[in-house]
């Protein structure tokens, strides 16, 4: 390690009050030069240790790429980071070398993806796939987390060293609620149901003892009863393990049960950021209001589903000014002139709309 890197490390060492993740004004294009399409436009988001944050938005709004960017998992090219910082434990992910990235992937931030069936490698036994994470991040004989170098808030030796990979795999499978894990470790992914596969994915993500679990629509591919079970599992694990969760969803129903805070994204920008309960009770941005209104209600006997008129603008074709303006019920002519700023209008409540008070 060069001397400059050393000082850098010391300077950026995580302090107790520093958030686990701090995304600052992140700007990411797909492609470069004249073909560049801005997919993420000035997103800022912090997640504290042990906090659950939901990132909500329609397909194509940039929520997944934002989440994948935390471990720089969007293939580059086409991805092209043009601005901003992603500070994970105080260190900028966008400036990390490939070796450092491999350490934080799994080591600090783990991912659970949308389709468990496709995200597990079909030709390896699930036990071996989990073991692979252990070998990478918690090799036998090393005390505590294998990511101690980067993950500095972790006190070394808080857990005894791993003695045996198989025992730990079984413990993890038990932790995510897989019955008879001893016999399951020899299974191939195709021999399990979708819900069980997602539990395996979660066990694999937890194997490396991450500080942050990013769950990218973890229940979209599952049927409703299984969805509830998986969410409950995530909630329960969070309580027991104290890790932070970034949950990406387009389902507002999940938000109330899971999230401490919610960020609503629209067309590559965060339009509202707020504590979850307050957002659901009293949404401020017209887009959030429209989203909440479009959730079908059983009570009240509404005869028609209320939908947001118009379509989500496509990347590269964003309207000038406020991107929601063409679909917004309270839009004024000046909305299409200048992109509004994300402003803190009440304590902890940020809104990208100067006219949020308009009923």
């Amino acid at each position: 390690m060069s001397p400059t890197e050393c000082t850098n490390n010391r300077k950026s060492r995580a302090s107790p009050d520093m958030p686990l993740l701090e995304i600052k004004n992140l700007k990411m294009d797909f492609g470069s030069g004249t073909d560049a399409l801005r997919a993420v436009d000035g997103v800022s988001l912090t997640i504290g240790a042990g906090e659950t944050v939901c990132l909500v938005g329609e397909s194509g709004c940039g929520k997944s790429v934002t989440a994948l960017s935390i471990a720089r998992l969007v293939p580059a090219p086409p991805a092209n980071y043009v601005g901003g910082e992603i500070l994970l434990n105080g260190r900028d992910v966008l400036k990390m070398s490939n070796g450092e990235l491999r350490q934080i992937r799994g080591g600090v931030v783990s991912y659970v993806f949308q389709e468990p069936g496709a995200s597990l490698n079909p030709v390896f036994r699930i036990g071996n796939q989990i073991k692979e994470s252990l070998k990478l991040h918690r090799p036998i004989g090393t005390p505590a987390s294998g990511t101690a170098r980067i993950n500095e808030t972790n006190t070394p030796g808080q857990r005894p060293a791993l003695q045996n990979y198989n025992d730990e795999v079984i413990r993890l499978l038990k932790l995510v609620g897989i019955p008879a894990p001893e016999s399951r470790i020899k299974n191939y992914p195709f021999e399990m149901s979708g819900g069980m596969q997602q539990r395996v994915m979660i066990a694999m993500a937890l194997a490396s003892e991450p500080k942050l679990l990013v769950a990218d629509e973890p229940t979209t591919a599952l049927d409703v009863t299984i969805q509830a079970q998986i969410l409950e599992l995530l909630h329960d694990l969070k309580q027991r393990l104290g890790m932070a969760i970034l949950l990406i969803t387009h389902n507002l129903g999940i938000v109330g049960d899971m999230a401490d805070r919610v960020a609503v994204m629209y067309a590559g920008q965060i339009v509202e950021l707020s504590p979850a309960k307050e957002l659901l009770r009293r949404p401020l941005h017209p887009y959030t209001k429209a989203l909440i209104n479009s959730v079908p209600k059983l009570a009240g006997g509404a005869d028609r589903l209320s939908a947001i008129p118009g379509n989500v603008p496509r990347i590269g074709n964003f309207p000038p000014g406020c991107r929601f303006a063409p679909r917004c019920p309270i839009a004024r002519p000046e909305c299409s002139e200048k992109i509004p700023e994300l402003v803190e209008v009440e304590a902890g409540r940020w809104v990208r709309c100067p006219f949020w008070k308009t009923p």
Partner: protein, 307 residues
């Protein structure tokens, strides 16, 4: 599983029976007088008559086929018309050479095709990929006999890097094996590349990357194993092509293997020897296919579940 294996064995036997019957008729349809080729161009009519009687050449075709099949059922491939040597003995003494050539060829092509295909997929669109694409397309369009002659002329005869012909050391195998490797390696590199491109876009590769695996582990462990599944299927059928290539290369490089034996026996109209070599090659193809089938299950556990 056992059931499946038995079914496969049964159909393999049927294939071999059909092959022997078909070859029998084909060899019979070849123009030329077998008796004359045995006895020599200047043989008298009496001698020719004797030869015909000795080898039952005057019997009706179906009777001879019957004799042949009965003989086969006893595991006897007959004796050469020309040297009177036992056909099975001739094949078995020559088989090690052919096997050594095939195995060396296969190893060479795997050593070339697998890394090339993987790297072409990894560096898709780069100058490396484009150069290799041209080279691979070229190599798969080359006829084996021409390539063998060119390698022999330039690398062995002109440059003297390799022995020109014969089989006295392992070095004698290198050029013939390279011929086989080049003609099939290019195609497999392209095949592996195409499969890798598809696999690399799969969510499980993104998940593997998110775990913190190195690119090498992702490419060669996670992706390659998935990309090899379709390749292994084609490999089974391509062994036949490999044996075809063996015939040319063995003859060009004068290797004493099955290929030279087959060609000699065709020139001599040595009917039992032709039938023997063809049947032997067919057996090889059938058994390799069986092995590939088993290999396929090992490489893709989902297959086993279907049985």
């Amino acid at each position: 599983m056992l059931n499946r294996l038995l079914t496969r064995l049964f159909w393999s036997a049927v294939t071999l029976l059909a092959t022997s019957v078909l070859t029998f008729f084909l060899v019979n349809a070849v123009p030329g007088d077998v008796a004359r080729s045995i006895a020599g161009a200047k043989a008298s009519p009496e001698v020719l008559q004797q030869v015909r009687e000795k080898y039952h050449l005057n019997d009706p075709v179906l009777v001879r086929l019957g004799h042949y099949l009965v003989q086969l059922a006893r595991g006897d491939l007959g004796h050469s018309f020309v040297t009177d040597q036992s056909v099975s003995e001739a094949i078995l003494t020559r088989f090690p050479t052919t096997a050594a050539l095939c195995v060396t060829g296969l190893i060479l092509w795997m050593l070339a095709a697998v890394p090339l295909g993987v790297l072409m997929a990894k560096f898709r669109g780069s100058w490396f990929d484009r150069t290799m694409l041209v080279a691979a397309t070229l190599s798969l369009s080359l006829p084996a006999f021409w390539l063998a002659r060119m390698l022999q002329y330039w690398l062995a005869f002109r440059l003297g890097w390799f022995p020109v012909a014969g089989f006295r050391s392992f070095a004698h195998l290198l050029l013939p094996a390279a011929t086989l490797a080049i003609i099939s390696g290019g195609y497999y590199a392209l095949l592996i590349q195409a499969n890798m491109m598809e696999v690399l876009n799969a969510p499980c590769i993104a998940a593997a990357r998110a775990k913190g695996l190195s690119e090498t582990a992702i490419l060669f462990r996670h992706a390659l194993r998935n990309a090899l599944i379709p390749v292994v299927t084609v490999l089974g059928t391509d062994v036949a092509a490999l044996l075809g290539g063996v015939i040319f290369t063995e003859n060009v490089f004068a290797l004493p293997g099955i290929g030279t034996l087959a060609v000699q026996s065709v020139f001599n109209l040595d009917v039992p020897m032709i039938m023997g070599t063809v049947l032997f090659s067919a057996t090889l193809v059938v058994s390799v296919n069986l092995v590939v089938d088993l290999l396929y299950q090992w490489i893709d556990p989902r297959i086993k579940a279907d049985y």
